[in-house]
Subunit: 309 residues, 2 copies
């Protein structure tokens, strides 16, 4: 099944376009979840034991965050950096959290923003998607449904990700116009024909995605388009009529759901609204428990986007 | 000590600007090294046991490759994708190989081409460099001396890497003009003022690196400039007079050492010549052992670059 159809069905079934961003800060985990994993209260000393304890605590936090909000979401987005810092225990934690999200009925987006060429790009794609066969046996991948990729190095850096995703019924989300101020430094540069660099990247996304358009009209090559600059959304949609847009920047970064309408032009699954800190930290400054506050904020965002789409 | 001075001293001491690219393909490991680790001949079944066996075999291969060629090299460049595919055992293998390289007197370049913003960029930098303090204890990083980073998202995606590197006496290598054909798709696009996108990125590299120039005249913010397009090297040097250039593309990709002279303008440590497959696969089609062939090829490249610089 082409990924666009998988997503369209899932969005419809869950009545949600909301993506829970999982970005765990070891210094700001929810209280009372650190023992949730139950099998890793390591008492050892040294760096390796610390990494194991931190990774275990992060698993507990992430499980609680998923359990609290899954009902309002269609997917989780895992920020890989926050797991890699813990080395091998972090790699295990990432796999456990992805599995927990799947068990809760959610799709999994691996947010690693990888970009490389040839066999390296292929190895990244295998790591994040379905793994590979080796002379030592089958090696499992993370099993993600979508992965973010960086287009700086051009088509031959994107194609291995697209090929691997398409073969496995998954998708790739290309960084087109990101939500940070630094997007002005490279992505917004003007080319001789008047277009911005990001618009040219958008055209490449449309081209690479063309063979992967499903019956719902959505392609398996999507785009990351920041929600902080809504004036770009209409233009992005013009350039990429079939792309799934991942829309970061809502909440903590200042983006507003009501500005996202152009993203939903090809249907509700055309735009995935992602929020991280505004959900995980919703309890700060309030009375409720972290889980209750997160659930309420996720449901609020879900309903707001659903009304719009 | 600013990283540029560390590198200049190391290049001088080892009489080498050669970087051994470590990019292990599990289907093409050197024969007879798979048991070199000695502690991981797992007999289990299933994906996890396969990943452990593959990671162990890769450690054996990489140790043998380093042992054979270290004398001709100043650094190793670890392609992170090839380790990540093995999950937790891959993360352990990466750390073991990095430590083996250090013990052989080599600097370590983490080639992950990471690019993200804010706390995510900071987490990647901590993972690759010196780790972080957590409420669960100190977590160790990979301890790399240099890491490759992707500038697509702009200055605020680069600065956390630069800040972390500078604080730890390490350096960052920004992708400026890569060695793949796809570089034409984005990096080579012409801007309204006639410059290419990559030239604008080069100017950002120069600006970010200015506070990190050491006594040897080299900065802690360097650039990846492909050796496959030598006509770009002189222009890159003009834009980034103090940057350390990492020069991929020699050998298998068609680049030639004799075209690299402009890279060495600020001194021999101004250019790091990196070769992967042409060293690891030097024995193919010949009579000698993999180790002997790799050693000879590494020494040939070292001498060629040293004569030029």
């Amino acid at each position: 099944v082409p990924f666009g159809d998988t997503l369209a069905a899932r969005v419809c079934e869950r009545e949600s376009q909301l993506v829970l961003g999982i970005d765990p800060d070891p210094r700001a985990l929810w209280a009372g979840t650190a023992t949730a994993r139950g099998d890793g209260q390591g008492r050892g000393t040294g760096d390796a034991a610390s990494a194991q304890r931190a990774a275990d605590a992060i698993v507990g936090h992430c499980r609680a965050l998923i359990d609290a909000t899954a009902q309002a979401c269609v997917a989780v987005k895992l920020q890989l950096a926050r797991f890699e810092i813990f080395g091998a225990p972090g790699a295990d934690a990432l796999a456990i959290v992805a599995e927990h999200a799947r068990a809760a009925g959610l799709l999994v987006i691996a947010d690693g923003k990888r970009g490389d060429i040839d066999v390296s790009a292929q190895a990244y794609a295998q790591a994040l998607l379905g793994g590979m066969d080796t002379p030592f046996g089958r090696v499992r991948g993370l099993g993600a449904d979508l992965m973010t990729v960086n287009p700086l190095m051009g088509r031959d850096a994107l194609q291995p990700f697209v090929t691997a995703a398409r073969a496995g019924g998954a998708g790739a989300l290309v960084l087109v116009r990101t939500s940070n101020p630094g997007a002005a430094d490279v992505e917004d540069l003007r080319l001789t024909d008047g277009e911005a660099v990001w618009e040219r990247v958008g055209a490449i996304v449309d081209e690479l995605g063309e063979p992967g358009i499903g019956e719902a009209g959505l392609s398996d090559v999507g785009a990351v388009v920041g929600a902080t600059e809504p004036r770009h959304l209409a233009r992005a949609r013009e350039l990429m009529p079939h792309a799934i847009f991942l829309l970061p920047g809502i909440g903590a970064q200042g983006g507003r759901v009501e500005d996202l309408a152009p993203a939903f032009a090809p249907g509700r699954a055309g735009g995935l609204v992602t929020a991280s800190r505004s959900i995980a930290n919703a309890h700060q400054g309030g009375d409720g428990s972290p889980a209750d506050a997160a659930r309420a904020e996720a449901e609020r965002l879900r309903a707001e986007a659903w009304t719009l789409g």
